[in-house]
């Protein structure tokens, strides 16, 4: 059990905080999904060639995080065994009831898209993998169809464009919806705001790009491979622009609260200057927003005048800071909204437990799962390039149109 210290007058039923680390983690994970997907779509749909090196990885990463997006929710439910009620008997007036359908639809779109991107690799491996068991696995993954001839691939590509075109708004809905969950709670002055979905979406994009950036640079460094500077530069630019819009909206929200000065501003002011001071102004604003704004901004503005290696390092540091920013933002929204009572006269303290169902350890373990899934995936299919085109040079894939099977199997 948590120990909640209350000050002032807290309504008797509010001396417990119901939504804790898990509900902080959930929008963080779906945010990374939405952001990573948008990066991959920039290449696959909008033809941003410079993002080619991370295009596949970003897509698979989105999928890996999406796979585990429901876990924190299940872990916090009072009755996880009834979770499917949300799809069996959805209440049409509840924003939350949309979750099951939006999530499933998006998961399906993403899975099919990855399947199409990797189809030539799957087909190739269904024939050429060493172990018979692995060949069987690839055969199942290919749904028994290993036709990857020109016409078939062309059809795949067309379907993929359509799916990505649906996938982008779906990613936006999936994450905008999370913001709406909070923004539509009129009972909570810290949440209720039509800006909330937009802020959640923008910060989702920031965190997704940052996660791709950090993973790409780290993996390349660890594996001793060449880092594509044009790709890093592009990711940094997208991250920087998204950050600017995101932080502008976040601050607009705050300034609006202060300037309008409704009856709830008194308690929000106290909340911001006490309970949320460190996580809001020090972590989210200073460390997470101002610092990366200047760091990444330097790369954006001075571009080639900064050495490539320096830009990579700035990208890595800046990416980590952005990930901290978004995590802090999730914390400040979710926990901030529950640290004051609806009596508008009292506060609650919340300290994260280390152990326990919604403790720090289970949150960290949960967040590690998508990375584990990525590792497993990387042993089944290449994360960074294509085997079917040239197994020796995994980075040689330039565009989908150039994907040609090395041999004809028919």
């Amino acid at each position: 059990m948590h120990h909640y210290v209350t000050e002032g007058y807290v309504l008797p039923n509010q001396t417990h905080i119901y939504w804790t680390t898990m509900i902080v983690l959930y929008p963080y994970i779906t945010g990374i999904v939405a952001g990573a997907f948008i990066i991959s779509s920039l290449y696959h749909v909008f033809g941003k060639q410079e993002l080619q090196p991370v295009s596949r990885f970003a897509m698979v990463m989105a999928f890996a995080f999406l796979l585990f997006a429901t876990l924190p929710l299940l872990n916090h439910l009072g009755h996880p065994e009834r979770a499917f009620n949300i799809m069996f008997t959805p209440n049409p007036t509840s924003a939350m009831a949309g979750f099951g359908f939006i999530y499933t639809a998006y998961l399906a779109i993403l899975a099919v898209e990855i399947w199409l991107v990797y189809r030539s690799d799957i087909a190739y491996l269904a024939h050429h993998a060493k172990a018979p068991a692995m060949r069987a696995l690839y055969w199942v993954l290919a749904l028994g169809v290993t036709d990857v001839q020109e016409e078939s691939r062309r059809l795949d590509h067309r379907v993929m464009l359509v799916l990505a075109a649906i996938g982008i708004p779906a990613a936006c809905v999936l994450h905008g919806y999370v913001g709406f969950l909070f923004g539509a709670i009129k009972a909570n002055p810290w949440w209720a705001s039509p800006l909330m979905p937009v802020i959640f979406l923008l910060s989702a994009i920031v965190s997704g790009i940052a996660m791709v950036l950090v993973c790409y640079i780290t993996v390349q460094k660890v594996k001793g491979r060449v880092i594509d500077t044009a790709c890093v530069q592009s990711l940094i630019e997208y991250a920087w622009y998204s950050l600017i819009i995101d932080v502008t909206l976040e601050m607009l929200e705050l300034v609006n609260h202060a300037y309008v000065g409704n009856e709830d501003w008194e308690i929000l002011k106290q909340l911001l200057t006490t309970k949320l001071f460190v996580s809001m102004f020090l972590v989210q604003v200073l460390v997470g927003s101002v610092l990366p704004f200047f760091l990444l901004g330097a790369v954006v503005v001075f571009k080639d005048r900064i050495a490539a290696a320096t830009r990579h390092n700035i990208g890595l540091v800046g990416g980590v800071l952005l990930l901290v920013q978004v995590l802090a933002m999730r914390w400040n929204v979710v926990m901030g909204g529950q640290m004051f009572s609806k009596s508008l006269r009292g506060f609650l303290d919340f300290k994260v437990d280390v152990f326990g169902r919604d403790g720090l350890l289970s949150a960290v373990a949960l967040f590690a799962l998508p990375f584990g899934a990525l590792f497993v995936f990387s042993n089944v299919l290449p994360l960074w390039g294509s085997i079917a085109t040239d197994p020796k040079d995994r980075l040689s894939e330039r565009s989908l149109d150039s994907v040609q099977p090395r041999r004809s199997w028919h």
Binding site: F84, F88, T89, N91, V145, S152, L155, V159
Partner: protein, 173 residues
Amino acid sequence: MRHAKHFVRLFALLAVVLIAFLAVRAQVVPKDFGTLGRFRASAIKEAAMREPRHLGNEACSDCHAKVNDAWAAGKHHTPQCENCHGPGLLHVKVMSEDSVAAYPDRIKAFPKALRPTTGTQECLWCHLKTFERPSALKSIKNVERHTIEKGGTFTAASKCTDCHNPHTTVVKQ
């Protein structure tokens, strides 16, 4: 369509998943869900079914007629039996099974069947003077001072019921 074979299989797979979902849903959702509104209709009946735990003075007077008569004849009407003694349901259930002779044993076996009364706390719930309490209500600032003011001797064991009969509020001699 020669090269769309994999899409045919994909759609077949999706169709299987969808049909499985609908089949499970048809099995799992209660039949009366949605008949009265977007909820399980029998939930209303279940909510109404529960047994009341507070039984009311009439139920108490079935066995405790004497004290109920005294209460009715007295001037302390606003609190009823169960205000101070707690809900009677469990008490009645426990006691109705046996004769009055077995009462002491059963009380020992089910001490929580009724709320144990202290003879002071129950009175102070209403009659302790706090600033916010309407002044028309007879209330005292402090039990000790009240006892001394009224010429009594206050000890740690003193109770309001030493002098007052809570069922009638007649001051005992």
